[in-house]
């Protein structure tokens, strides 16, 4: 279950950057092409925060849309999934956005 280990990484990352302060909320940005299921992260969050400075914190997840750059025409286009379909007809593209997993901000007291 990669969401559990990823959620534990989220907690570790936040703990490392909040200097022991109590964290009451965490905001994440998850790319729609990242292969990470936000509901599964939510499911794991309470478990992963137990006994840490994040215990009881809320979690807010926003999405990062997928974007591809066409290797044929050079234009960028929306990629709702991993199958590239450039409006020019090409299916040869690289993903330029939508794979991220970022802790954007936290609330501390």
């Amino acid at each position: 279950m990669h969401e559990l280990s990823i959620t534990q990484d989220v907690v570790r990352t936040v703990v490392e950057h909040t200097e022991g302060r109590t964290v009451t909320g965490v905001r994440l940005r998850i790319g729609v092409l990242a292969g990470i299921v936000p509901d599964a992260v939510r499911f794991c969050f309470d478990l992963a925060t137990q006994g840490t400075t994040l215990e009881g914190a809320w979690l807010e997840v926003t999405d990062e849309p997928g974007r591809g750059r066409c290797r044929t025409c050079g234009n960028e286009f929306d990629m709702p999934d991993l199958l590239p379909r450039c409006p020019c007809g090409s299916t040869d593209a690289e993903v330029v956005a939508g794979r991220s997993l970022v802790v954007t901000s936290v609330e501390v007291v």
């Binding site: 990669h2 509901d39 007291v109």
Partner: protein, 284 residues
């Protein structure tokens, strides 16, 4: 949550391909509606639609603000997988400095990865082969590899469903491969999770067998979009199964344009010359 692998079945959708109707559960409500159709879970107080994306990513959070009374917002913008990726980059440099080439083999369980490795160890003799075996439990695969004549370590991930950069680094410490070796990694049999974790390998190989179905790439796009090579195994069984090799190639290349697909049989040896040639090419 899925009882088999623990993955997030809270977001599972059941889609009727005939009508396009979607049945799924969220916010504690199970319901069925047409894809894209506006609907409500709270008697009409709020109405929303689901686009035809794999997950309802931000839907529960777009409608409300969390209280901030008495707290301070700290902007972080921290890449969570950055730690894994940084360790993988260290491993990649460590391997390169010792003329070691690591290949990450990924597939569903039962595609023939271990058989392919056993044969590779016996027949690709131009340089030493060492193996890192990943499985949730047992030492069975590492024992098979040792019996084939290569040194191996087994990483048992327990509940985990993939290898990560830390596990691979620890396995390399334990193996201490001699310079010039080929380090083969047999990842946990799983077409989902291993795709997300860079180990520091030179190349990623996805093994698929003809008993699995030629539409696998479309069903598991993350795995195939990460593939540097696709090995199509068990081609000796092609006469007995409904498997379209060209459809598999088309689907794999839709996700990874131009990816090479090598049809082989690890049992009969057919096509393995091309596999050994591809491996040898990684060192040049």
């Amino acid at each position: 949550m899925c009882d088999t692998c623990g993955c997030g079945a809270t977001d599972v959708r059941v889609v009727d391909p005939g009508s396009g109707a979607v049945t799924h559960t969220h916010d504690g409500v199970t319901h069925t509606h047409q894809s894209g159709e506006a609907h409500s879970h709270d008697g009409g107080l709020t109405v929303h639609t689901h686009e035809a994306t794999p997950v309802d990513v931000a839907q529960p959070d777009e409608t409300h603000e969390h209280p901030r009374t008495g707290s301070t917002t700290v902007e972080l913008e921290l890449d969570v997988l950055g730690k894994n990726d940084a360790l993988a980059a260290e491993t990649r440099a460590w391997l390169a400095a010792r003329d070691l080439v690591a290949v990450n083999l990924m597939s569903s369980p039962g595609s023939g990865k271990t058989t392919l490795l056993e044969r590779t160890i016996r027949e690709a003799t131009d340089r030493p082969v060492v193996v890192v075996e990943g499985d949730q439990e047992t030492l069975l695969d590492a024992e098979r590899i040792r019996a084939a004549g290569a040194r191996a370590v087994q990483v048992n991930t327990g509940a985990g469903c993939h290898l990560d950069a830390e596990m691979f680094s620890a396995a390399l410490d334990s193996l201490a491969p001699e310079p010039g070796s080929l380090v083969m990694v047999e990842n946990v049999g799983n077409l989902v999770c291993p795709a997300l974790f860079d180990l520091g390998e030179r190349a990623r190989v996805v093994v698929i067998s003809v008993t699995e179905g030629d539409d696998k790439p479309l069903k598991y796009p993350h795995m195939f979009s990460a593939a540097d090579l696709v090995v199509l195994n068990k081609i000796d069984l092609l006469p007995y199964v409904d498997f379209d090799v060209h459809a598999l190639m088309r689907h794999a290349r839709a996700l990874r344009p131009g990816v090479r697909v090598l049809p082989v049989s690890a049992r009969t040896g057919e096509g393995l010359g091309a596999w050994y040639g591809w491996l040898a090419g990684l060192h040049s």
